[in-house]
Symmetry: C2
Subunit: 406 residues, 2 copies
């Protein structure tokens, strides 16, 4: 009979220095019993990844991606070796592995590789010898035996993928916050930790601004129905469980409020209001490699209309250049921009089926004299684009109105 | 027709920072022509190895060796990736490999593994694509696919072993000195750089104190007759060629003077002068893991004799403890110690067959009022153990008498 397996992932801040590595070793041993097996995934120590990247950038602004993976993957290799040493120093058997050694096979897209298969043979062997297994996160190897890395949030993905392969009971993500909150605790003082949340709600919150986990890992966990437990490295209490269904069920609809200030708004004014114009605009924008988020086309009272859309702020210049060309071609009047916007969203299951939630959101913003510039909705979220300066006020007001504190 | 291959090895001080890595990239490109192929072996950046070791030591004084290899091997992985980036930034194709990726297979002795085989398939492939190949020194993998390291001087060994496997024309060892000198230039002002030296002489000089290359790599180069060129990373001039025969042939016998202060002397006084006593003593000493170097047993005029020997200073305490027990058992009178000794040696081919060289050495030391405490000779060297304080005086006098300056 095989013992239940727990996968634990510790992020860079959890292993930032020797004392924290010791604390993580202690923490891992507190979880380990005779009746379970532990697989630990670690990120690079603190700022190692940034420091290595900086070294490469001093050589050339665009270092070759294969060599960057060779370089960056050392960060996780260092932390997994150190954690194995720390656990053995506390008296328990432990063994560290690189992504390649545990057979994490990826495609050939260096710096953003996708995991194809995992042959966890060496992990199973080590677990059967009652060893605690430590795996370097963020990395794999491709069919040329070259080292690849998985891109941002890659260690979370390693943890979730290993949990799936090993049939783990749970994948615990240890981080520097205590879990997922109903709103950013730095904005809303009485934001509450959410005990249970569904994959879909979590995905929505992640893509709308909650930064605890990357959407990618949550999607994979959802597909294979692996429970994720987001919790603090520095506190014993339980964090947030992410599962298929939140236990709240139909109790309340709004699970959390998110906000982000990462977008900019572009408006092409007075374009001809005829079929194919929108298609033309967004084909041209996508050609310059920019992903557009919210799009609003105002109701047209004349033969012309305004089309607004948001893009990542970092892509604003590129977008404006393309938009000017489009405007010229379409004989549009002008192109306007605004990079002082924020997106405020409410997230919850079956939100669209609940009448009045959207209205209540708009009403609340209005009562707080916050102008809504754009609105978009999904199955489980409603977002408003507002002026950046009103972000905190909006989040606080929405948090209060939807009674997100216990 | 295959192009001639040059293997170049750059040590830690040659790649200590980004500017030096750029300089190494430049240097490699100056060697590269359309008619040759270059394989570069690099050590870890500057003090990286020490820094990583220090981190591990903060966790436990005796970290497990497998995990240490996992940890330490990252140093060379970082420098080979950075050098590949630097070379590509200068416009030439380059590719970096770990020891494992180029198939450097070792035994399972972690932290001091021996190379068993090298399957340089990936190197040959990359060279055929006109890429400059950069290999992480000091490391390999064993049959479990675990990372191993080769111990002190390991990167030199990687370079020599690759030169052998690839049938290279020469193995260039770039270092922070200009070559092998007739004596330590810090002691003897007019010490001369040796142009050519034989493997045997170099081996003798290395084991007697010259610290430029580890004896191990020279032995391997000798066995496969790979020419080694020891030269400076920071100067263009030629360094010292180490080959089967030095071109000097019979011209002069003494190639160089070496000295070291790493030994201590132990004397067990008045042990019974009968068969089996020496065997007993040195069996017991070897049991505590100490390697004894020079042994002198004085001619005995009574039924008792004194036995003196030298051991590494770092092993002195361990040795004294064992010696006291031996002395008690053999009813010897006492154990004496002296850790203020130095070994001064003259090295040259066929030295023993040259009459008068030894006598000249002893005479020179006597004229300088330097007492000789022990003497040992080999086929190509004569060493005297003297008081430490006389080291520099002895080296200078011997350098002069044997006319080692041009």
């Amino acid at each position: 009979m095989t013992k239940p397996i727990i996968v634990q992932k510790f992020g860079g801040s959890s292993v930032a220095n020797i004392d924290r590595i010791k604390a993580v070793a202690q923490r891992v041993l507190e979880t380990k019993t005779k009746k379970n097996n532990i697989v630990v995934v670690v990120s690079a120590l603190g700022d190692t990844t940034d420091e290595l990247e900086e070294l490469a950038m001093k050589l050339t602004p665009q270092p070759p991606e294969r060599e960057m993976d060779m370089l960056m993957s050392t960060g996780e290799q260092i932390s997994c070796a150190l954690l194995a040493i720390a656990i053995k120093a506390l008296g328990h058997e432990a063994i560290s592995f690189t992504g390649g050694q545990v057979g994490i096979r990826t495609d050939k897209s260096h710096t953003k590789a996708q995991i194809e298969t995992i042959d966890a043979q060496r992990i199973r062997q080590a677990l059967s010898e009652n060893k605690i297994v430590i795996v370097a996160g963020f990395q794999g190897i491709n069919s040329d035996n070259d080292i690849t890395t998985l891109g941002r949030g890659g260690s979370d993905l390693t943890a979730v993928a290993l949990a799936i392969t090993l049939g783990a009971k749970v994948c615990e993500i240890f981080t520097d916050v205590k879990g997922i909150y109903t709103a950013d605790p730095r904005i809303v003082e009485d934001a509450q930790k959410i005990q249970n949340i569904s994959y879909d709600e979590m995905l929505e919150m992640a893509s709308l601004g909650a930064q605890v986990m990357q959407a990618r890992s949550i999607e994979v966990a959802k597909r294979f129905n692996i429970p994720i437990h987001v919790r603090s490295s520095f506190a014993k209490e339980e964090g947030t469980m992410i599962t298929q269904n939140s236990s709240k069920l139909e109790q309340i609809s709004v699970s959390g409020i998110t906000s982000n200030k990462k977008e900019a708004k572009v408006t092409i004014c007075a374009v001809p209001d005829k079929p194919g114009v929108a298609a033309h605009i967004f084909t041209e924008i996508s050609k310059v490699g920019v992903s557009v988020d919210t799009i609003v086309q105002n109701v047209s009272h004349t033969r012309h209309t305004d089309i607004s859309f948001t893009v990542p702020r970092s892509d604003l210049n590129k977008t404006l250049k393309a938009a000017e060309q489009i405007a010229q071609k379409l004989h549009a009047r002008e192109v306007l921009q605004d990079n002082k916007i924020a997106r405020v969203s409410i997230v919850g299951s079956e939100m669209r089926s609940r009448h009045g939630i959207a209205a209540q959101m708009f009403q609340t913003l209005a009562e707080n004299k916050i102008n809504i510039e754009m609105i978009t909705t999904s199955e489980i979220s409603i977002s408003c684009i507002i002026h950046e300066k009103n972000t905190d006020k909006a989040v606080k007001a929405l948090h209060k109105i939807f009674s997100l504190k216990d």
